[in-house]
Symmetry: C2
Subunit: 477 residues, 2 copies
C-alpha cells in the first residue's frame, strides 16, 4: 500500500546499517547538516522527540527533589584545571573563546564540555552549613566536545543534554543519589523509550574523568553494537577538595561535601532509531511519539468522508496525540510518510468503512491491520497504543537476549565477537591489561560490570587468572 517513491529511498537495514541510519535521520526529517562542520540542525520532528524526553525525565527528576538551574556556558581555563584528572579527560576536545567585545581576552574561556567545575565553583560559595545540603541541581543545556568523527545524534560537536550535579553531607548519601538517578534513567528507557538496558558499573579504564565510580545503562542496537545511554558518577570528595566545597556539620566540624553528576543526551534519539527502526523508516514507541495517531481519509473527496475523518481525529485527540492528514497527497503517499515518521498507529477511513460503521487501525511496528467499530475507536486505540508500547519493549528485550552470548575462554570470545554481533558476558580478572588487549584485538570494550552478576567461569576470559567480575563486553557506538 505504501508509496514506492518514498520507500525506495531508504537503504535496507540489513544491507548497510550505517547508511540506513543516515537515511532515516534525513528522510524522517529529524535533522539536517549545517554549514558548521560537525554541528547539526535538529528539525521539528527530531526536536519534538527531545521535548518529550525532557518532559518525561524532568517530571521524574523533580519527583526525587531535583531543582533546575542555569550555569554560565563559558568556563575560565583556570577553573577547568583545578581537578587534574578531569581537565586531562576533556582538554583534547575543548573549544576556546579567546576574543570578546573586540578584545583578546586575558584568559581563554572553554565552551562547557560538562559543568562539574562550574557547579563546584558555585557550590564552594553557596554551601555553608549542613542545613544547605543536599543540593540537587540540574540543568538542560548544550555542550561542545570537539570530536574528530561525527554522526547525527550519536556523536556531534555540539549536543543537547541534561547534567545533574549534587552535593551531599555523607559518602553514603552521594552513593545513594548516584544509584537513584541511574535507576531513573533505566526506568525511563524501559517504560518510555521501550529500550531494555543493562545497569552496571564502568571499569576504572572506562569511568568518567575525575569520578571514583561511574555507573551506566547500556543498550543493544539492532546491529548488535552497544550504546552507552546514560551515566551517573560518584565523585567522592575529590572535586570538593580541589574546589573547597565545604560545609559546617552538626558537630561544628568543617567537612568536604560528597558529590555526584549524571546525564543523558540527544543520543537517546539515536538509540530509539537503532533499536526500533525498520526498512520503512522510524518506529516510535507511543509514549515518546510526538504524534501517536494519524488519521488518513480514503477518497476524501467523497461526500462526508473528510467530515467523518475530522470527527474521528477530534475524538481521538482526547485520548492520544492525534493528527489528521487532510493534505491533497494520495493516501499511499500519506501512508508511506506516516510510516517513515514512525507514527505508532494510523487510522484509515473511507466511504465503505463509514457505511459499515468501522475504521481500520494499522500498527506501525507490526503492520497488522485491525478493523474496529467506529463507536469504539477511542477505547480500541487507547488499548492498542498500550499494547504496542508493551510489545515494543518485549521485542527489543527478546532481540537483546538473543544477541547476548557467553564466552568462557579467549577462543570462544574471538569466535563470537567476529561472527555474532551482540553483548558478550565473560569473566574478568580486574586487570586493565586484559581490557587493553581485547580492545586491541577486537575493537571491543568492557561495557559494564552488571549489578546482576553471574559466574560464567572462575577465570578471566583473557588471561586465565582468577576472575573477579562478570563483565558485559561489546563493540560500541
Amino acid at each position: 500500500m505504501a508509496d514506492k517513491k518514498l520507500v525506495e529511498q531508504i537503504t535496507s537495514r540489513d544491507e548497510d546499517f550505517a547508511q540506513w541510519y543516515t537515511d532515516i535521520v534525513k528522510k524522517a526529517e529529524l535533522m539536517d547538516y549545517s554549514s558548521v562542520k560537525g554541528f547539526m540542525v535538529i528539525k521539528p520532528a527530531g526536536y519534538a522527540i527531545w521535548e518529550n524526553i525532557q518532559h518525561e525525565l524532568d517530571r521524574r527528576f523533580k519527583e526525587t527533589g531535583v531543582e533546575n538551574v542555569y550555569m554560565p556556558v563559558l568556563i575560565p581555563e583556570s577553573l577547568l584545571q583545578k581537578e587534574a584528572d578531569h581537565v586531562e579527560g576533556f582538554a583534547a576536545e575543548a573549544a576556546w573563546v579567546t576574543m570578546g567585545g573586540g578584545d583578546v581576552l586575558p584568559e581563554r574561556l572553554c565552551f562547557r564540555p560538562t559543568s562539574e567545575t562550574m557547579f563546584c565553583d558555585f557550590y564552594s560559595r553557596d554551601i555553608r552549613s549542613y542545613r544547605d545540603l543536599p543540593r540537587v541541581y540540574n540543568q538542560w543545556c548544550s555542550v561542545i566536545r570537539w570530536e574528530k568523527e561525527t554522526r547525527p545524534f550519536l556523536r556531534s560537536r555540539e549536543f543537547l543534554w541534561q547534567e545533574g550535579h549534587t552535593a551531599h553531607a555523607t559518602a553514603e548519601e552521594a552513593e545513594e543519589r548516584t544509584i537513584q538517578m541511574l535507576n531513573v534513567y533505566a526506568d525511563f528507557c524501559e517504560e518510555v523509550l521501550a529500550i531494555p538496558v543493562v545497569k552496571g558499573r564502568k571499569t576504572d579504564k572506562e569511568k568518567f574523568a575525575g569520578a571514583i565510580a561511574t555507573y551506566t545503562i547500556e543498550a543493544l542496537m539492532h546491529d548488535g553494537k552497544a550504546l552507552q545511554s546514560g551515566t551517573s558518577h560518584n565523585f567522592g570528595d575529590g572535586f570538593a577538595k580541589a574546589f573547597g566545597v565545604t560545609f559546617t556539620d552538626r558537630d561544628n566540624q568543617v567537612k568536604y561535601c560528597h558529590q555526584t553528576s549524571w546525564g543523558v543526551t540527544t543520543r537517546l534519539i539515536g538509540a530509539i532509531i537503532m533499536v526500533h527502526g525498520d526498512d520503512s523508516g522510524l518506529v516510535l514507541p507511543p509514549a515518546i511519539a510526538p504524534t501517536e495517531v494519524m488519521v488518513i481519509p480514503i477518497a476524501a473527496h467523497k461526500d462526508g468522508v473528510l467530515e467523518k475523518a475530522k470527527e474521528v481525529a477530534e475524538r481521538l485527540g482526547k485520548v492520544a496525540r492525534t493528527k489528521l492528514d487532510d493534505s491533497d497527497k494520495s493516501p499511499g503517499f500519506k501512508f508511506a510518510e506516516a510510516e517513515m515518521r514512525g507514527i505508532p498507529v494510523r487510522v484509515e477511513l473511507g466511504p465503505k468503512d463509514i457505511e459499515a460503521g468501522k475504521v481500520v487501525l494499522v500498527r506501525r511496528d507490526t503492520r497488522e491491520k485491525i478493523e474496529v467499530a467506529l463507536d469504539d475507536v477511542e477505547t480500541e486505540v487507547t488499548a492498542l497504543l498500550q499494547k504496542i508500547q508493551k510489545e515494543m519493549l518485549e521485542r527489543a528485550r527478546a532481540h537483546r537476549d538473543a544477541h547476548t552470548y557467553t564466552a568462557k575462554n579467549y577462543d570462544e570470545f574471538k569466535e563470537i565477537i567476529e561472527t555474532k554481533p551482540g553483548f558478550i558476558k565473560a569473566m574478568w580478572c580486574g586487570d586493565q591489561a586484559c581490557e587493553d588487549k581485547i580492545k586491541e584485538d577486537f575493537a571491543a570494550t568492557s561495557r559494564c560490570m552488571p549489578f546482576t552478576q553471574e559466574e560464567i567461569s572462575d577465570v578471566c576470559v583473557c588471561c586465565g587468572k582468577p576472575a573477579k567480575k562478570m563483565v558485559y563486553w561489546g563493540r560500541a557506538y
Copy 2:
C-alpha cells in the same frame, strides 16, 4: 509579624532603586554572580520563574502553529557577514571561538548573538516550493552579547531567550505574523505577568539591525524607567536576498521569501521584579509564581497542628501550586522568607484557628489578612489568587497611567523628563536629528510609535516642524 533580621537587609525601593533591585535578586535567591565576569548563575527560584514563562509562552506559540527546532550555537564569520546591516549591529558584541580540538580554526566562529544568519542559511537549503511555506520555527537557547556594563537579568553577557524565525510566501503574510507574535507577547505580559505594555513600532533609529520594521512592547518600571520587553521584526526579503532563500511559487516563478523574527528573554524576570516588588522583597503574580501558596503552621509542636497544616496543604495542592513550610524556623522567619520570595498567598494555621474552624490567608501584594472557614479553603484560595492576579495588573496599569505625561513643546518635555520619571507622549516630525537631540539633552529615547495614536499637537516637540507621529519617549533600561 515578619522577622526583622531578614527584612532589614533590603534597601528601601524609594531610597535607592538600583540597590533595592540588586538586593532582591540576591535575597530572593533568584541568581548569583559567577567567576566569569558578566555571566550569572540562575538559581532554582529564578529558573523556576523562567520555566513557567517558557511553559506559558511555548503553549501560546504552538497554538499559532510554531514548531521548535535547534540550530548550531556557533556561526562562521563568513555567514554572519552576509547581511551588511546585521553584522554591523552585532560585531562589537561578538564572542569568538578561535580554537577547537587543540587546533586553531581556519575560520573563527561566533557564539550566537541571535540566529537570523543560521536560520537563513538553513532555509536556503530547506525551502524549495510554496508547499514548504510558511516555516514557523522557534528555538529556546542561550546567546552571548559582550556587554560592557551588566546587571542581573537586565543586561548580561549570556542570557536565555527564545528566538522565532519564520519564512513566508508573501510580504502580507510576514507582516501579519510579525504583528501576531507581538500580540502574543503583549497578551502574555498582561494576562500572566500582570504587566501592562504599550504596543508600537520602533523608529528607524531604534529598529533591529537588518529589519524593515521592528515592533515592540514597552513596559514602565516602578521607578518610571521604560523596559523594552519583547520585539518582533519584519525583515521583508532583505535577508532572503543576502542568503538566497527562495521558493518556486504556484505560478512556477522563483521568488524570495519574506521573513520575520521575534524574541523575549530572561529580562522579563527583571521586569516582574521592577513592576511588582516592594520593600519586603519580590511580589509574584500567581500565574507565574512557582509556589502560589505557602502553608505555615503556628505553634507547630502543639497537638494536631502540623497534621492539620499538612491536610490543608494537600487539599490546596489540588487547586494551586502549594508548599508546606514544616521547617524548624520560627513562624516570623517563615513569614519574612515567604514575603521575600514573593509567594502570593500564605496560609497561617494555629491551634486557635483549628479550634475555631478557620484559617488566615495573607495576601503578599496588599498584606491584607482574611479569615476564612477551614471547610471553604480551596474555593477561597482559588478566588483570592484570581483576585490578586487581576488587581496586580490593575495596580500596575494605574501606576503606568499616573506616570505617563504629555508634552507639547521642548520646555514642557524638559520639565517633565527632569522631574517626573515616566513615559512622555509627544509629537515627532520623523527626523532622526530630533531623536538624537533628545538623547543628547536628556538621555531619553523614543520607545515606540504606539499603534494607538493621539494628536497631542500638530508640531514636533523638538524642532517645531509639522508632526508625523505621536511617540512614547522615556529613559530606559
